[in-house]
Subunit: 350 residues, 2 copies
DNA sequence: CTGAAAGCGCTTACAG
DNA sequence: CTGAAAGCGCTTACAG
């Protein structure tokens, strides 16, 4: 198990450690012949530099941290998991390791700080979905390079990778309108999350533009709940709206998990989808294709969000003095069976 | 950003580095008073030992690797992802970091070896689902502590964490039989995977025991496909069996993804579930509750598999000379709406 | 172009 | 119980 070190290689190649190091790190100023001898020795001995030693010498280890709120692991819909996988993929491609940490909620101050931040295991980190303010404050104090994904906080300046929720939402709404719907309901959980707020804003804008609906009209057709978006919330919200004297003919759910609950509500009330009620989701998680009829929704390029986050972070790591950057990733409307219209050909959108 | 080292703490506390180290590592032989002084200095300075330095000095870093075949990331059903999350959870609890690696398929020998194995970033690893033989050989050659999860290879001796597929399969079959089904079909993809073979074996055993069916009878009711289990395969298989002159009244799918395809087939043939056709799955992935009717299936404690894998590995790391161990994790039959019978109360089985 | 030396921040025998 | 010293395996000025 004990294997060769740089010293062994140097000895075998008849050069100094420094020279081997130069070769390993692909520096110039090594004669072709020396380089060759070293390379041969490395090959022969199957030498590979220890990560920990480089890390210590360089004061950086080529690892990035990924912080995800505990709750998002519980959620069955693997939304953030896909972002994580995308991040891990891009990180690996760029030669970085990814370390994962679950942010506790509630967060206790020094106790719950991710260990990899304390022991300097990571060079920087990605925070997805949301994070305790106290943790964010710590990150800022320690000046740890950081990028926020699908999350932002007023006046918290750092790199961001965000979803173009507003455009996605308006596109979805316009589709519904093009199908002739006039009374469209909006059902949302997680109603304080910036992404949900933007989707809501899209809903409102389109309603106003098209029908000049009064705020009051729109409010009647809106169900907002601060609790985590879920099928339960979707069901509640849909039931509430559908029992209105003048119920909506279409419901735009803030995400697919919520839409699942709208299906349940429709079923309970004996409404058939899409004939009696059209439903539109947001996210395009796996569940959407399992529903019957399958759900029209707004696709989010989840893996891509993760990849962009890594690119953003690596960029920051390499150029610390750059201005902060925010990347907005577009969405794609996917028409399936839950609201009529011509189906979008099914391609694998990662 | 530059922060205190053990030397700074020593200076502040008026002791030597060695003493600080002893305190940090909670060793005996430090006078209460000295310990206190050191602790205070650590607190005051918010000192935390660098991971890389400990790693180098100790020749082990408290990280474990998790190897997953590339294909399993593509699969939309997050089966292995949940195992990974469980592993990550337990690892964190035990103070280990988890590093992830995607095993390429096909695997090219030295090129595709996970880097964390080469650069000694991990102390041991967990391999889930399957892995290239050449990689397994490398692991064995290098004597890297390793545990295989939901996978085994004849004569590959190492620690294992496996699913009790045989019992799970027989329990599911017995349930179907208790409902009066006599002609039960078995539809499988990934038919060479040890877990699928065991489920198949359970199917055969029960069929033989109960009806003394001839191998021939059973074979007629069996659809096996070596390709990755999927809805497509499930649909094909179900269609094939359902078009038999004497079609099955129930189908046992090798996993839930396959069962999804069986639903499609039933729908195409105008069969209603569970009245015309009962369907039983295996895995209990999220999709199963989204189906209509929701799928009766055999629950696998995915996170628990991951956790046990970590425990097994840590155990191995701490006691290298122990005998090899195999842990078999039981399953749980969950009755929902796809085959009749009294519903299992829905609890969150993690 | 190459080597000797110091340093990264820890741990661990070994003295005392 | 405590400290001085060496070592873990790299990288990086600095000489030459």
């Amino acid at each position: 198990m004990m294997s060769y070190t740089i010293r062994d290689v140097a000895q075998r190649a008849g050069v100094s450690q420094s020279t081997v190091s130069l070769v390993i790190n692909d520096r110039t100023n090594v004669s072709p012949d020396t380089r060759r001898r070293v390379l041969v020795a490395i090959e022969d001995m199957e030498y590979y530099p220890r990560h920990s030693a480089r890390h210590l010498a360089l004061a950086k280890g080529g690892s990035i941290g990924f912080v995800l709120t505990e709750q998002f692991f519980r959620v069955s819909e693997p939304f953030y998991t896909k972002i994580l996988l995308g991040a891990e993929f891009e990180a690996a491609k760029q030669g970085f390791y990814t370390l994962l940490s679950r942010a506790k909620e509630p967060f206790e101050y020094p106790k719950d700080i991710p260990r990899f931040l304390l022991d300097r295991s990571v060079d920087g980190l990605i925070v997805a979905g949301r994070a305790p303010k106290r943790l964010l404050k710590f990150i800022k104090e320690k000046k740890i390079p950081c990028v926020l994904v699908d999350f932002k906080l007023p006046s918290y300046n750092t790199n961001h990778v965000l979803i173009d929720n507003l455009s996605g939402s308006k596109e979805a709404m316009n589709h519904l309108i093009s199908l002739g719907h006039q009374r469209i309901g909006f059902v949302a959980g997680s109603s304080t999350h910036p992404s949900i707020l933007e989707r809501y804003e899209g809903f409102r804008q389109v309603m106003k533009e098209h029908y000049g609906n009064s705020i009051n009209d729109i409010d009647k057709l809106t169900y907002l709940n601060e609790e985590e978006a879920s099928p339960q919330i979707g069901r509640e919200g849909a039931l509430e709206l559908l029992r209105l004297p003048d119920p909506p003919t279409a419901i735009f759910a803030c995400n697919d998990a919520t839409a699942v609950g709208c299906y349940k509500a429709a079923k309970e009330l004996g409404l058939s989808i899409p004939d009696d009620l059209a439903i539109m989701g947001f996210d395009d998680v796996d569940a959407s294709t399992h529903l019957d009829p399958d759900l029209s929704t707004v696709h989010i390029y989840k893996a891509e969000l993760g990849k962009e986050a890594v690119r953003s972070l690596v960029d920051r790591l390499e150029n610390p003095d750059q201005p902060l950057k925010t990347k907005i990733i577009s969405t794609k409307l996917i028409i399936r069976g839950s609201c009529g219209g011509e189906r979008t050909p099914e391609i694998n959108y990662f």
